[in-house]
Amino acid sequence: MKPSLYLVGIALVALASLAPAAEPTYWQDVRPVLRKNCTACHNAKHVRDVDVSGGLALDSYDAVLKGGKEQVIRVGKSADSPLIKAVLIDDTEKRMPLAATPLTAETIDLLRRWIDGGAKEGTKPESDPSTIATSAPRPTRKLDVTLSTSAVPPKGALGPATPGKLELTLKAGPLAPVAAVVFSPDGKLLAAGSYGRVTVWDLATAKPVKVLTNVLGAVNDLRFSPDGTLLAVAGGQPSAKGDLRLYAVADWKLVASLGGHQDVVFSVSFSPDGKRLASASFDKTVRVWDVASRKTELTLTGHSDFVYAVAFSPDGKWLVSASKDRTVKLVDAATGKGRFTFSGMEQDVLAVAVSPDGKSVVSSGFESGLHWWNPQTGERVRVQGGHGVAVHEVCFSKDGSLVASAGGDQTVRLWQGKDGAPLRALAVGSVVYATAISPDAKRVASGSFDGLVRLWDAASGRLLLRLLSLPAGDDWLALTPEGYAASSPGVASAGRWTMGGQAMPAEAVWKVLGQPESVAKAVRGEALAAPTFGK
């Protein structure tokens, strides 16, 4: 059945006034009509779904010329063009656009003149807001982002105010959530992705070494290649196109842009030899790419809804993918043939990970328990733990001893890698979208809805550091719980320190707390003494 309930909005009235005296062209005149009336169903994304599109796409100039089973326009002959016939059918059950207000006479006349005039393409307008990468940051940010510290200056050190905990406030909100964090294989770098932005932090100094901004949409996942030479960035424009880019770590140059996904890429995974890359997308497919040739080797279409996560096995022979269709699929990486479908979940599966020994697959999602599967038999070994609400990401440490899960309950939880027994919870204080464990398994990173990256000590569960990367002026901040801070000059001048809601003299506070060396120590996991405020 055709989706007859799809309404195609109001008002074609405005178009009448647009009818120009000049020859109509695709870009200037016809495309707006098609977008308003036709392309919700007739688009490249749905072209294979004949029930929706009838096999016809009308969302690009070439597609309009090409038509579907037959050509829909006969250039120069509007009367013979099926496109014109279709909008003129008397039978309201069949007339295009289906179940919607019919095109006005003016609009039909415009289409006719276009076809009769040679169906010219015209020139593409300068900027198309749906495909440009990050727009210039809006100059006015008005919400406060407040970061707490445990620093309490003694009475009188900062004036007469009653001593309390110092807080740093930046007019920078709302911040884009951090949806991806990953350590480099050597453990020296930490990459974090938010909307249109990847910030790579040097963990020796706790400073950003590179900010990548030429990515489309929200960065949903980041992965370093096993040899550490490439960084894969997954993103895209929701419901329009996927974006998958490879950057060379040596000079942060874009080395490849892997196009093809029709919706955002939500997860990526390198094969252990680094030769292949798997990408999972909301377009319901998983693609396996040959990294050297940048070609799609396999397109897996087994899922019937968004694919949220993908992971290669340690031997590279199979991969697993998790989907909104409530299943996890285990697929042969060479042939693309399915081996097992892990099912029995009642809600979306958001996360999946494979243990480094290849003997366990862990999945989780809206049903928040961690589901442990045996990849050899396809059987569920156990369901345990979880966050009570959604789990957005699951990862193993390199040695397999630790599992970390990122939860909607605003915590990261750590579990024993061998039996899934709970170890501890890290209280992030905001919905956690991403988590990663450093290669030495000593530190855990979290990325969360509040736009902050947090670094934790895995053994004690102690918060080491908060990292903040701001779109405006490439400002950044690293702040320890004790209050020690390192920052760009912009943050140092614009940040306001308060105590009990009262403004404190910023310069005096920065003098005590602005200590990049202490911040660097914190990253290494060293304990820091409380700051001392002179009289």
Binding site: L5, A40, S135, P137, L143, P174, P238, F266, G408, Y433
Partner: protein
């Protein structure tokens, strides 16, 4: 639970109204020619508190001839202090800074002023999800049933139907699909904005044009960090529309303005975000902005919805202008109320019906039974001017009264052996019969049913709790039967056309939550007797909020340590209950008058107003004043002149094609049981109903499971759902075939114990035979021409018997027989 198809269709229809078709050519109304007397501005004053406040102003001209005319679109507006408040060309005043501003209005050569007081115009108040965002989504149609408000959402994006669950919607928008829908750090990149603005493909088309006021509200909300609904977010408590009533002429337009008051006392103009739906597009249409265009003559309402509350604006287009209304006599207050409304509408009634029509009509409507031949003749011969009144009194005292109305109550209470077992069915049916025989006041009747307990075999009304079997169904049935309110929708979501929320729904079912049913030890094995009993504890929980206290619709929380239902029954039958008496009188009005004041009979709601609200109120008040006496109610209706009008149209009322205003009697097809009995009576036969003694009439059947092809074919209700719509008068081919071709009727006509046989055996003169056949079918003697024709036919027939049988067959297939007219 059954979602009635009707409601769904209505929902979709309403959903499509928003899409708006291109207007057809409309009549242009002429403005009043009389001099303009004054300008009325609505609202009379403006009080803004907070940023982003706005108020639509409506300008109405009052003319010397009494007409009113909307001058809003031709008026010019200016602000006396633009720094305080601005006003645009459409009359929308917006807060700009604190202080007072005079808004000057000029129209048709006159001037008027409305004062705007503005406070906190520049305060930093984040956009409220409940107060500002949800209304925008609702207005744009995002959360309607045909789009993302569908049970499974659409395109992977689901919103609560018309925004009844803001917490869910917020999560769905901000968090679901891993937050893909919004980009708080760069709001205009959000697909929440890009799709409805058609920057990206959107199957629902353009819903929020880029940078429109609605779009900006969403953008601003995202910029504010997409704040969630506060846990204590107030709800809308009242919705007021101005003007609430207008008498208009075809082509005339009227802008409506809508004001919502929130639980925290804040009142604001919501014209821009309220949803407007015309209930009868043929009479008056309305734009999404609230501009009503009167079209054709008649009366209709515009439904206004905002924040789960509803209001209606009544639009009246008089059929004709009658300068001097004829003197129409009134028998009682019913006629007075009807005539008053007919005058407004320019309708005149049909004349009184003939005596024979009245006599047949009153027997069918009050007793379900045709009058006997001798009775008809006696009534026609009677010269008493009060004979109709006396006939009504007589009819109401006949034993068939109990039969006929027990049948009606049986439909309503769904008395049925499949649900109750045969013994339970009899016990309930006999209890209803006894109540009618004793003319038990309807309030007492309802109290007895609602507070029933005990054995279903011995305590008749306890069976009420077996037709349905859980607190939700009990409360739905109770609301439907005794309040005329269809509350089913609110089980899963806020009622789309009413103010009923899930709180109201579960609050009502909380009265029944402590009720249990169990099998009796004594009878359990053999008879499946059920005992309805009370448990000492138990609470009703609302799926989204947990435990709710019992409270009736629009009523306060109430509880009773012993039986909560007592409190419900008390509230229900209290003299000032707004639903109970209105529901009962509307039903019985509908049964006798052929059409309810509220139609459908059991769909009483604010958005389905009565065709004559004053009459409904008066009938209800009279019913209460007479202690809920059913016979009094029927007597009042039957004695009205309106009931006794001819069923034929006149020039003065033909325009009201559906006879909404009761300017004539509404013709009804005989109901299944009336027809079965009438056929038996006319043919002089007795249908044998299985399991019942010979002589039991169709109107005496205790339930609808007694096998009868005729009854089923003619729309006897299966008593499966509580809905007046179950009994249908829809024609179908089987009905025609059964009466025209079937040997069912032929056998009856030719029965050896039948009327024809009896008349022939007794050698009654043929003229008298013809007369009797007319009297027992059409309840009137034949006209001289008819007698001649009939005799001629009989004589030409092969045998006299065949001729007489043919005559009866013809009479039984005449519409005059099949209809109550």
């Amino acid at each position: 639970m059954t979602h009635r198809p009707l409601l769904w269709t209505l929902g979709l229809a309403a959903a499509f109204v928003g899409a708006g078709a291109l207007p057809a050519a409309e009549p242009v109304a002429e403005a009043p020619k009389a001099p303009l007397r004054s300008l009325t501005l609505l609202p009379p004053s403006i009080d803004f508190d907070g940023p982003r406040a706005e108020q639509h102003v409506v300008v109405i001209g009052e003319y010397a001839d009494g007409r009113r005319w909307d001058l809003t679109r031709e008026a010019t507006f200016s602000s006396g202090a633009a720094k305080v408040a601005t006003v645009d060309g459409l009359g929308v005043v917006r807060a700009a800074g604190d202080g007072d501003a005079a808004i000057n209005v000029r129209a048709a050569g006159q001037a008027a002023v409305v004062l705007a007081k503005v406070r906190h115009a520049t305060a930093e108040v984040p956009v409220s999800f409940v107060r500002e965002v949800v209304p925008v989504l609702t207005k744009a149609g995002c959360n309607q049933g045909a789009c993302h408000g569908a049970a499974l959402g659409r395109g992977g994006f689901k919103l609560s139907l018309l925004g009844y669950d803001p917490a869910f919607d917020h999560k769905e928008i901000v968090q679901s699909a891993e937050g893909r829908r919004v980009v708080l750090s760069d709001p205009e990149r959000s697909i929440l904005l890009q799709k409805p603005a058609l920057v990206m493909e959107h199957a629902g088309g353009e819903r929020l044009p880029a940078h429109s006021a609605a779009y900006e509200t969403l953008r601003r909300w995202l910029e504010d960090g997409a704040p969630e609904p506060e846990a204590t977010a107030p709800a809308v408590t009242t919705l007021v529309v101005w003007p609430a009533k207008r008498v208009m002429v075809p082509g005339e337009r009227q802008q409506l303005i809508v004001r919502a008051t929130w639980g925290d006392g804040r009142a604001e103009d919501v014209t821009a975000t309220a949803r407007f739906d015309a209930l009868n597009d043929g009479v008056a249409s309305v734009t999404p902005a609230g501009l009503v265009t009167a079209k054709a003559r008649g009366e209709t309402s515009v439904m206004i919805r905002f924040g789960g509350q509803v209001a209606v604006a009544q639009v009246t287009l008089p059929y004709t202008r009658i300068d001097k209304y004829p003197d129409v006599p009134a028998n009682n207050f019913i006629d007075e109320k009807l005539i008053a409304h007919w005058k407004d509408l320019g309708l005149t009634p049909s004349p009184l019906c003939a005596d024979e029509e009245f006599f047949r009509r009153v027997h069918l409507d009050a007793l379900g039974t045709l009058p006997g031949a001798a009775e008809v003749k006696a009534f026609l011969a009677d010269k008493d001017p009060d004979k109709r009144k006396k006939a009504i009194d007589k009819v109401l005292d006949r034993p068939e009264f109990v039969d006929y109305w027990s049948l009606k109550w049986g439909d309503l209470l769904r008395i049925d052996r499949d649900a109750l077992q045969e013994k339970g069915m009899w016990s309930f049916y006999n209890w209803v019969r006894a109540a009618l025989r004793d003319n038990k006041p309807v309030d007492e009747f309802a109290r007895d049913v609602i507070t029933a307990e005990g054995s279903t075999f011995t305590d008749g009304p306890a069976n009420y709790y077996r037709t349905a079997n859980n607190p939700l169904d009990w409360s739905e049935t109770t609301a439907q039967v005794f309040l005329g309110v269809r509350i089913q929708c609110a089980r899963c979501h806020h009622h789309p056309f009413e103010k009923w929320s899930q709180d109201d729904y579960y609050g009502l079912s909380a009265f029944f939550v402590r009720l249990g049913t169990k099998s009796s030890q004594e009878f359990g094995i053999f008879g499946a007797e059920t005992v309805v009993y009370l448990r000492p504890s138990g609470e009703q929980s609302q799926p989204r909020k947990g435990v709710v206290k019992p409270h009736p619709l629009d009523g306060p929380d109430m509880d009773d340590p012993f039986d909560r239902r007592r409190k419900l029954a008390e509230w229900l039958t209290a003299r000032d209950n707004p639903f109970f008496a209105r529901n009962i009188v509307n039903r019985f009005w509908g049964y006798t008058m052929g059409r309810g004041l509220v139609e459908p009979l059991d769909d009483m709601r604010a958005t389905n107003p009565a065709s004559n609200p004053e009459l409904l109120d008066a009938l209800a008040a009279d019913f209460v004043a007479h202690k809920y006496d059913l016979k009094h109610l029927l007597r009042t209706v039957l004695n009205s002149r309106a009931y006794q009008l001819s069923s034929l149209k006149t020039e003065g009322n033909a325009a009201d094609a559906a006879n909404v205003q009761h300017t004539r009697y509404t013709v009804k097809r005989l109901t299944a049981e009336q027809l079965a009995d009438a056929l038996d009576f006319a043919t002089g036969t007795r249908e044998k109903y299985q399991g019942l003694p010979l002589g039991t009439r169709a109107i005496q059947l205790p339930d609808t499971k007694v096998r009868s092809f005729l009854l089923d074919t003619f729309g006897r209700p299966p008593r499966q759902i509580t809905c007046e719509c179950e009994r249908t008068a829809q024609p179908n081919i089987a009905q025609a075939l059964h009466l025209l071709n079937g040997d069912f009727l032929n056998k009856k006509i030719a029965a050896p114990t039948g009327r024809v046989e009896g008349l022939l055996k007794a050698k009654v003169p043929l003229t008298d035979v013809v007369e009797e056949l007319y009297l027992v079918t059409l309840s009137r003697p034949p006209q001289p021409g008819e007698t001649i024709k009939a005799l001629d036919w009989i004589k030409k027939a092969p045998t006299e018997r065949e001729g007489v049988e043919d005559l009866l067959w013809v009479l039984l297939n005449r519409s005059e027989f099949l209809f109550n007219h």
